[in-house]
Symmetry: C2
Subunit: 749 residues, 2 copies
């Protein structure tokens, strides 16, 4: 019966065009290292329930995308076929393994606690925003799951006979270990699990995630299992139980250890359904219980799913797209969906959250966000939020400032209130400036500015800008200074300095403006006229040699660059494209270099440094059509309605944001400059719904005669008047109600 309700609800929503969740295919990005997962999650949810199929014995398996041996950063890979449970906290589209714990698993028959033995193949996977279901071959069990923000419900449809629900706290996406569990009653457990060591870094920052799990039916029997490590000493001779799993039947006090789990067992006279409700918290078990009680309580699976589905429909409704193919719509809305997973909510429903580095528990009346992958997101992601979700963007800015307040530094790659110091640069400054300059000024800009200056000016022990002393002295980071990727990092610092300069100007801090504006161009000292590339340089001014511009592609480690090579970085100076054109020797040379990069496959769609490259043709009069052509090619090649439908790691929604902007026909090409540049939209009509509180018009309609062939802009009209530029300021866009693209099959040269 309930199953039918679920199917009906899936069907029912497809009737209404205003239900964009219909166009969410959460399997997109689950292959080709997209690192997304198809699990059930609410918008920016703290909890998600994802199938976990990345742990198995790799011997004899053909496509062994095994989590540890492959550094997998996702609990699920579409190619894999061996499922060992459903994780309750997960990350989406990140480049390093983390979370992927509190793994529940329904099984039948005799109790088996070794996941390599209880794992199973599966069939009939279904997933959409907020829901996932699958059938487990070995057990003939259908499992369905949905989630609210901090809690989730799973339904396990068991056949008649012995049934088990395991919660494995030993297994996880990373090989971090350590857990506590306590069986509270025959329908409830509570516990915690250590997580941490993102990117196999900073293991000392590992922290617990707490949970409470409630079962809809009292267990016939229950217990805890514990798997100790194998003892090698002489005592192993008399330890008959060495290297064996222990079953603590009925044990009701805490059990702690590296590898533990609980089992709840049932004996069913007929097919029965068991519902498992789980609440999580990063603060305490009590808060996990409160999150579960207040968000789900006695609500049914259907109610929770409907609420979450409604929430997704609301947040996805910011853009109503019409006139593309179903695949295009799915690609678009799934991109938007992926952009609404991180940063996610960190605070409990009562406002509690773990503060950054203080080891205290804070409390907020706003929302405390986490997972700030800023090296990625400063480029376009927060710009998308400022447009579509200004209130959310402001809350994220406030979270960033709270992190500064707590830890003394702005976030760089923040994760559950730990700073992972992953990647390089000073990206938070760019986000803060960009937000303010777009008119979202409802935050403490003086504190923000103070934080930006601290990151830019602190000479000693500066965790944000290592090497900053040399940077200010020479204008660049030398290959001798010990800072990795000195060319890339110089560019990142320049971009941040540009952002600081723009904000300083806005705030009337003229001297600061001049200083930072000047410094933002210091990358020019790395311009090597001979190669016409930015080249690693010694502190004494000599060029680094031998210099191979291609070195650094495909994440290969190299002397000058971070996750890229000279081609992928040379034009990462969007705040100074005019300067770059000049250094290159004019527009022609600039364009030739850009063509070369694309034509020689030096462009890397899978990573961020060159993410704005396709839009740079718009800086060359007469060659703007190349932006439209490159974008059409890239969108068609890399963004598909298939599991491998992302070019690679989604980078917490940055790739998706790029695609969403691209398909809408404009892109925020210069971070911290409130400007967009145009390309051809991919839908005939896009109605953007804008937040009345921050935007003068409730909607902005973008119309076009887009089609598979109509990919070139012939003329742009804004509010029915011809518009003769490929750039538009944020203020102009805000004021516009209607943009029409007249497209054609041939470029306008």
């Amino acid at each position: 019966m309930k199953l039918k309700v679920f199917l009906f609800s899936l069907l029912s929503i497809s009737i209404y065009a205003q239900n964009p969740t219909e166009y969410v295919n959460s399997f997109i990005g689950t292959s080709n290292f997209g690192a997304t997962h198809p699990g059930a999650i609410a918008p920016r949810g703290m909890l998600s329930i994802s199938p976990f199929n990345v742990s198995f014995d790799t011997k004899g398996i053909e496509n062994p995308l095994e989590k540890d041996s492959r550094w997998l950063s996702n609990p699920y890979v579409n190619e894999n076929k061996f499922l060992t449970g459903f994780t309750h906290v997960n990350m989406s589209g990140v480049g390093c393994p983390e979370l992927g714990v509190i793994i529940a698993m329904p099984t039948t028959g005799a109790l088996e606690t070794n996941h390599l033995k209880y794992g199973t193949t599966y069939r009939n996977e279904k997933a959409s925003a907020g829901i996932y279901s699958v059938e487990l071959d070995k057990y003939n069990v259908k499992a369905e799951m949905t989630a609210s923000t901090r809690a989730g419900i799973s339904r396990y449809h068991f056949p008649k006979g012995e049934a088990n629900v395991l919660i494995n706290l030993g297994l996880g996406l990373t090989n971090e270990q350590g857990a506590m569990v306590k069986i509270v009653s025959d329908t409830e457990i509570e516990g915690m699990r250590m997580v941490g060591s993102f990117c196999y870094n900073s293991p000392e920052l590992a922290y617990p995630v707490y949970f409470v799990a409630k079962f809809s039916k009292p267990a016939t029997s229950y217990g805890v299992w514990q798997k100790p490590y194998k003892y090698d000493g002489v005592e192993s001779q008399w330890m008959t139980y060495n290297d064996q799993i222990r079953l603590k039947e009925g044990f009701a006090r805490e059990v702690v250890g590296d590898s533990i789990g609980t089992y709840f067992r049932y004996k069913f006279e007929k097919p029965e359904m068991v519902e498992l409700k789980v609440g999580v918290s990063y603060v305490s078990i009590e808060n996990a219980r409160e999150n579960l009680e207040k968000e789900i309580g006695n609500a049914s699976f259907e109610t929770v799913y409907q609420q979450t589905q409604k929430a997704w429909n609301e947040v996805l409704s910011v853009a109503d797209v019409q006139g593309g193919t179903a695949d295009q719509k799915t690609i678009f809305y799934t991109g938007l969906y992926h952009a609404l997973i991180h940063p996610n909510i960190l605070n409990d429903i009562n406002g509690d959250y773990p503060e950054a580095t203080t080891n205290k528990i804070g409390n907020t009346k706003n929302t405390r966000y986490t997972v700030f992958s800023l090296w990625d997101t400063y480029r376009n992601y927060h710009q998308l939020l400022s447009l579509f979700y200004p209130q959310e963007q402001l809350n994220m800015v406030k979270s960033m400032l709270d992190i500064y307040q707590e830890s003394g530094w702005l976030p760089k790659w923040e994760l559950n209130s730990t700073e992972t110091f992953t990647m390089v640069g000073d990206p938070a400054s760019v986000v803060l400036a960009d937000t303010y300059l777009k008119g979202l000024t409802q935050f403490d800009v003086e504190k923000a500015y103070e934080a930006m200056l601290k990151g830019a000016n602190t000479i000693k022990n500066n965790p944000i800008r290592p090497g900053v002393e040399e940077y200010w002295k020479l204008g660049y980071l030398s290959v001798d200074g010990g800072v990795s990727g000195p060319v890339s990092t110089t560019q990142e610092y320049n971009i941040a300095d540009y952002a600081i300069a723009q904000l300083a100007k806005k705030l009337g801090k003229k001297k600061d403006f001049e200083r930072f504006n000047k410094q933002s161009l210091s990358y020019r000292k790395l311009f090597d006229k001979q190669t016409r590339l930015l080249r690693p340089r010694h502190a004494n001014g000599q060029w680094y040699a031998p210099f191979n511009p291609e070195s650094g592609a495909n994440f290969e480690k190299n002397v000058g660059y971070i996750e890229g090579n000279a081609w992928q970085y040379v034009y990462m100076v969007t705040h100074d494209i005019k300067g770059m054109i000049q250094m290159m020797g004019g527009a022609k040379a600039f364009e030739k270099q850009l063509d070369y990069i694309f034509d020689q496959n030096q462009y890397d769609m899978a990573n961020e440094p060159d993410i704005a490259y396709p839009f740079l043709y718009n800086y060359i009069k007469g060659s703007e059509w190349k932006t439209q052509k490159r974008m059409d090619d890239l969108l068609k090649t890399y963004f598909k309605n298939t599991p491998d439908g992302l070019p690679g790691n989604d980078d917490t929604g940055v790739m998706s944001a790029w695609m969403v902007y691209g398909m809408m026909g404009f892109y925020p090409v210069v971070p911290a400059q409130p400007i967009y540049t145009f390309t051809a939209p991919k839908f005939n009509k896009i109605v953007l719904k804008l937040d009345k509180k921050y935007y003068p018009n409730e909607t902005l309609t973008i119309e076009s005669n887009a089609s598979d062939k109509n990919i070139f802009i012939r003329q742009i009209f804004i509010d029915k008047k011809p518009y003769n530029s490929y750039f538009i300021t944020h203020d102009q866009l805000k004021k516009a109600k209607h943009i029409r693209f007249e497209l054609g099959e041939t470029p306008k040269k």
Copy 2:
């Protein structure tokens, strides 16, 4: 200053003869596998603080009594010299490793968390009842510790400079692992540690011990360390921190894992003292905190020590001995001290305790005792309590009945509400009957009787008496029935049946009396006339062959016996010595066999089966002097005022109880028969203080002209009248006020 107070208090007590703690040398039994420890403990304390010196790298060490490789059951061995901390829960005089966790260690200088590196040699150990102190060579730190029942205080006297207090939750006496810890503030931590797998059995019964630790001075810095296991997978290539200890500086949420600990660091401008107060509980952290607060709170080290010293003086004052050497007094009072450690208190100060097998938390208004090593203690230990501490004995009986109520079975070898099923037989029945028959009837004897019958009569799945079906059918356990030590176990069941019969008789249950009385003699079917020993037998009646009576000595595994051989078991039938004499062919043959056992070194003073043998000469008219001679020899040989001053494992005070009785001149030779037999006392005057509530006379004075040479009884006088038997009933003893032994240098033949 404070140090002086402590020394003064130690000196001051020596002035008063009524302070028997003066004669406690808690180093006795810390060598020769006595398995006692010199740590600070209150009478029957749940907590004790013992030096821990049994974990080190054995390479190149001469006397490597290392815990794992030697199956050490004690946290401290006098021969060892490398100390790695102070444990807060310990067992005393048991044969298997257990507890020995929550290990605190003061160090100085840079932080080091590997105990193999931070361990140190030491000097100037001092210990008495309730107190222990030592100086650590490596750190020039003096450490002192004292304890209340459920809490303890340690004082660490640090020199100027960097100081650290470590609490290592990875290390422990056994290799069980799993702990949780949370730093509550800069002066407090809370946590738990898994313990269990006593005798390397039943690891699934492992359970947590909870603790709260408070520091007298706020730490300058603090944190948690975590030592993960070494990863062997491919990921170990990129885990730069593989196999390395992690320091979680300032971390204030829970940390869980197999190998963790906390550090509290100080920087002292001058020598300073840090006090560490620890409370424990087997129920919860909250209870551990309450135990600490209510028992110690703000009390000073001196106050706690004085209270505990007073408590020891009170319980040790049941016997005031005069006229022996100082060594004899020390041996005697230390024996009594060792007999007052286990069974120990399990319930928290609020009455909470973990129930046996129910997985519930119970609450008692009495005392819930634990550590019932009944195979040992049924022989003489509870008899000693019935005499000296009748109220305590009754409370223990009540605990045993509560265990029956909770688990469905009487305890056998109970430990912290887990049944370890160590050793064989049905010893609880003997203790219950013996207690009741001695007039301590203030317990639910009908329930006790019901429990005894259940153990005796349950044919299937009887955890107390495996093989009981065959036992009732054949009268003995055959070598074919799969029960280990079938001869020994038959004898144990016989002894229990004798006890049940005696109680049945007392309760007027005539039929039961007849049935059990008859069965109590069924061991006779194992009497082999040829060897005149009890011999393993097949179910079909054939004797087991080949039969080597000596097989089984020194704990060697053998077919017929448990921890003994045929000689050590043949006379373990004290309820039927007359029958045995008859089977042997008369008193002469019986005596000859007994002489043979002693003279051929077949008597094992280190274990229980033959513990009554020296007293059996009293059954042979004219040979009673041999009891006196054997006892004198044994006491002189095996009981000394030295670390190796116990014959071996103290077996939770049973060896000590044997010695205490022996030195007083009488012994409860037949368990469950309220009778004692005499030997020559070793003091000139012993005043026994008896509990008015249970005994008609407040004191019983035993006088003698005992000396090193006067070891033979010439005449016994009771209340000044000549007494012409070597046996006395419990009732007669109760009524007596004065017993005088006229001793001489030559035997009375």
